[in-house]
Amino acid sequence: MSHLLLLVPFAALILANLLPRSARPAATGIALGVLALQTVAVALPPLGLADWSALNPVDTAIGLHVSMDNLSVLLLVSAGLAGMASIFAAGPGLKTPRERFLFANLVLVALIGINGISMVRDLFSLYVFIEVTAIATFILVVLRHGVEAYEGAWKYVILSAVASVLMLASIALFILVEGGVSLSAITHALASPGPIPWIATALFLCGLFIKGGLVPFHGWLADAYSAAPAPSSIFMAGIVTKASGVFALMRLSQSVFVDALPTRWIFLVVGAVTLVIGAFLALTQSDMKRMLAYSSVSQIGYIVLALGGSPQLGIVAAALHFFNHAVSKSQLFANAQAIEEQLGTISMDRMGGLGSRMPVTAGTSAVASLSIAGLPPLAGFWSKLLIVIALWQVGQYVFAAIAILTSLVTLGYFLSLQRRVFFGVPLAEWANVREVRGRLLTPALALSLITVAVGLVFPLVLSLLLGGSR
């Protein structure tokens, strides 16, 4: 089935472009259908509700070098959910049919890139699919033009170009010493003496840190997220940066750096610095989307920190936090879009008392915020708990303490967001504000439900991840 995850979105992309101009609004429906199909088809087999082994001959016949494991499933499902949320938001968020048509096209291209990232086992192919995703994302940022969008996309392009150079240099060095770039060849290269494989590893990691927006390479992320149109922000914050940067780190940790102490220390230090700086930067923002963007930086720090913990539990904790954050952050950006639709602004200084005017947005936003902050019994609590346990198991008590204390800062800035936006007496300026229409409420409600449900059935989720994480 793995090949179909590349070929079906590709066929959908072609189909969407074959539509006559009058039928182009159907392109968003096609993209939504592909995303829904992917989410369901990928999520069912691990739950024991379906078996797609009848499709294995398709994989054998095509013979591309891709394969799925539980880590892939996690990314594929996250991408499906974040993609669906962004397509739902595209209706009210993008004003012209042309913008919506191009958006659907770009989401499909990025989806193929993300699906490729989740299933390749080769460093060069990984790089190619990261680039596919990145190029589609640059354009998603400038979809509605404007100076801010150009500036955000420009920073993203420049830093991405630097990341590409670093990754290509790394690949060249691996080819030089090992003659290949499959993950097994990389593992073999790192086991041999000499500094070149480690120089190459450092270069590739730096590239991934830039793509993932880790400190000190986080400068582009807030500009790109806040300048992009709302549906693009949902998709980018929900899945794109995590897939192109963090997922690749998870894949390498799982397959290549299993017992490598130097990389574990790099993940610990970079993860801790990122989560602390991201949290404090989020605390100082008054623009809601920028606060959410810096919050993403901080949460990505948690995921990377987990990779420095005990090998097996660390990967599981990172994977679970990856999923939780994809769901909750997509939803918070959908909430931000709902507020922007009704108020015309995203500055929290001009908000207040919206809870009574927009109760569903306020409620779902509270669920996602509290989950990311790590409050039980929501999904985010369990992933953060696992991260702390994974660090504790390898004796990294200081980093575990940093993770716990930064959780309090996370709670602080999310409570501040809730208070400034939803609590208090409604301002006279917003007397006529009402709750948004159904198309923006649907993703918010569905993603909140997933956050609560994953928290409540956590033992089942954990056993699924532990079953196939290694």
């Binding site: 590709f10 042309r98 191009l102 096209n105 291209v109 390749v120 680039e131 400038v142």
Partner: protein, 164 residues
């Protein structure tokens, strides 16, 4: 001074010109020159297929794409151009110096790196590499081209009346 050294120096100069000039058209020409010289260096090192691809794609095709995009832009007034050139030179004058200093410093470094370069002609048949070994990457390249086309549509195509 060998031919290779001359080529490498010219390559660096062309790359510097590409990054320092304020005119897009000149930057494109400089980039094409740098690519052409890189192709010669690759050929001299025995990577013939890479050299041909570098020359045809990077020096040829990419330059055509750049020039066609530049033809869609509007030139700035000469006064603005002079101001921008001066500010650019003030900001980036250390760049060539840093590059030269780094080059000189590297010649003194005795890196403990001993890697045997593959013998000339030892590379696999390009047909096998492209169609058997790297099919997946070719698929990725097609997607990158598609994303680029959508990018051009987003950035440069004006919205028509019937689109609304």
């Amino acid at each position: 001074m060998t031919l290779m050294t001359i080529l490498l120096v010219l390559l660096v100069l062309a790359a510097l010109w590409a990054s320092m000039t304020t005119l897009l058209l000149r930057a494109t020409i400089a980039l094409a020159l740098a690519s052409a010289m890189l192709a010669v260096v690759m050929y001299a090192l025995g990577a013939t297929i890479a050299a041909v691809l570098e020359l045809s794609v990077c020096a040829g095709l990419i330059s055509v794409v750049f020039v066609s995009v530049i033809s869609l832009t509007q030139r700035k007034p000469f006064k603005d151009y002079v101001v921008r050139r001066m500010s650019r030179l003030t900001r980036f004058w250390p760049l060539p110096l840093v590059l030269i200093a780094a080059g000189v410093a590297l010649t003194f470094v005795r890196a403990p790196i001993q890697v045997a370069l593959p013998a000339a002609g030892a590379e696999e048949d390009v047909r096998v590499v492209l169609w058997n070994l790297r099919q997946l990457d070719l698929f990725g390249q097609i997607l990158i081209l598609l994303a680029g086309v959508i990018g051009v549509l987003v950035l440069f195509k004006r919205e028509g009346k019937d689109d609304n």
